[in-house]
């Protein structure tokens, strides 16, 4: 027996992490969350309440009232405070109890957790740090040029719950081949760069010819995409669709926050740049159309995630991306800031040779066309 060939590869998987990533997490659109009503967010293993007070500040507090445990997100905004539905205790945006209407005074230690928040480009971010330190300056989320511009549409936004640990979605950053098999794209260029708290995927692709194109839209020739995670959960994708007659510039946000170790809320948002051929209404329609397309893409991912197993020792071929290095990068968000090591943050570049995959995939596409096979049909 040859031990080299007869040994079976075992899948290894440790427990999912018990702490939640340090970093800015987007909780949603300020136009939804900032309407003056309390909103519930189940995040980081807890209940949070999000509300905009009369002072205009958008606040995030621990959701359970320190008095008798009432759910503040079921309460009401009264003035600058959130009022508990159980006994009307009032909590300010700084987490302090400001008033107990039926009592002479507020008890000592009447303080709950207030989360650091940031409003930017129509989005509400919350800073999570198990060590309870404020964010260092260098981890800020970059501005999105089109987000507050009349030349671009407003956010077209989706939210969905995914029942798996959020590392699965991070793996997509490096997973070149799944774009063909799961999403029907044909990558022609693929490179990853990890540096500091930023992980970037450069990807150019063309459309599979064995795909029935959606009806009534111009022929899509290909895409150019530069997508970066700024920290553990917030990805900005500068995504250009190359059509027969013009390019369409879009920004795709792909962000999430953990509900607990085994589920997360996936959110994605799209804005589309308007053009002479693409005035307001048409651009918004394009955003909706692209949004539906992206939604389909994530649904394809979710189907895989739902049925796959967690794997800490993926067995990689040379045409796969740098899964292990990505996980080193991702690890920096799960250790204390003092324990971040150079192998987590030092610059790393990985360019895939797409020649061999393209050859194989083109053959598969040609065979499908010759045999009249439609791989799958877009919804």
């Amino acid at each position: 027996m040859d031990p080299e060939t007869d040994e079976v590869r075992q899948i290894e998987a440790g427990a999912v992490p018990t702490r939640f990533a340090r970093g800015w997490h987007c909780l949603g659109l300020t136009r939804d969350l900032g309407d003056g009503k309390p909103h519930t967010r189940n995040a980081f293993g807890q209940r949070l309440v999000v509300f905009r007070g009369a002072d205009g500040r958008l606040n995030v507090l621990d959701g359970f009232c320190r008095h008798m445990g009432g759910d503040l997100s079921q309460g009401q905004v009264k003035g600058d405070d959130i009022a508990c539905p159980f006994h009307d205790w009032r909590w300010g945006g700084d987490g302090r109890c400001t008033r107990v209407p039926y009592s002479r005074r507020v008890p000592k230690l009447a303080r709950t957790t207030a989360w650091m928040t940031m409003e930017q480009d129509g989005l509400l971010f919350v800073w999570n740090d198990p060590e309870r330190n404020p964010p260092p300056n260098h981890v800020e989320i970059p501005r999105i040029e089109g987000a507050d511009s009349d030349e671009w549409t407003d956010w077209h936004w989706y939210t969905t719950v995914v029942n798996t640990n959020c590392r699965e979605i991070i793996d997509n950053v490096v997973d070149m081949a799944h774009f063909f098999y799961v999403h029907g794209a044909m990558p022609t260029y693929f490179k990853n760069v990890f540096e500091g708290h930023v992980a970037t995927q450069y990807m150019n692709g063309i459309t599979r010819a064995d795909f029935p194109p959606p009806a009534d839209v111009p022929t899509l020739l290909g895409t150019t995409s530069v997508a970066s995670y700024w920290g553990p959960s917030f990805m900005i994708d500068d995504l250009i669709y190359h059509y027969e007659h013009e390019d369409q510039h879009t920004v795709l946000l792909n962000c999430h926050y953990p509900i607990d170790a085994n589920s997360f809320v996936l959110q994605y948002g799209i804005i589309v740049k308007k053009s002479a051929n693409l005035p307001q209404e048409a651009a918004m329609q394009a955003a909706v159309g692209l949004g539906d397309f992206v939604k389909l893409g994530f649904e394809q991912d979710v189907l895989i995630w739902k049925n796959k197993t967690r794997i800490d020792n993926p067995l990689l071929c040379e045409e796969d991306g740098p899964v292990y290095q990505l996980r080193h990068w991702y690890e920096q968000f799960f250790v204390d800031a003092a324990d971040v090591t150079p192998d987590m943050v030092d610059r790393f570049e990985f360019e895939i040779d797409t020649a061999r995959p393209r050859e194989a995939w083109q053959q598969e596409v040609d065979d499908n066309i010759a045999n009249g096979v439609q791989v799958w049909v877009r919804g």
């Binding site: 290894e12 992490p17 800490d312 040379e318 690890e331 610059r347 360019e351 020649a355």
Partner: protein, 95 residues
Amino acid sequence: MTIRADNRLLDAPPVPVHCRRCDATVQVRKSSWAQTSVQWDAPAMAACAQRRAARALAGHDNGLFLVCSDLRATIEDAARRGEVPILDEVQANEA
């Protein structure tokens, strides 16, 4: 959690390359002429002139830096001279 080692690195570890422009040392691995991985460290990042220039221009592209063309050319030359093995070819010769 301990991150495991990439099985590909066990087969063929990276080799050091010194950039001819700034003398930064990086660890390079090439499985084919077109596939390259480059591991930098802090001294190399500080030494790279192109990266510093990109930092100075940050804002336009959020400071993203795709590649140093001097380093890329150095690596290609090193590969042509056989100092960076091309694993495809090594394996083809062994077969």
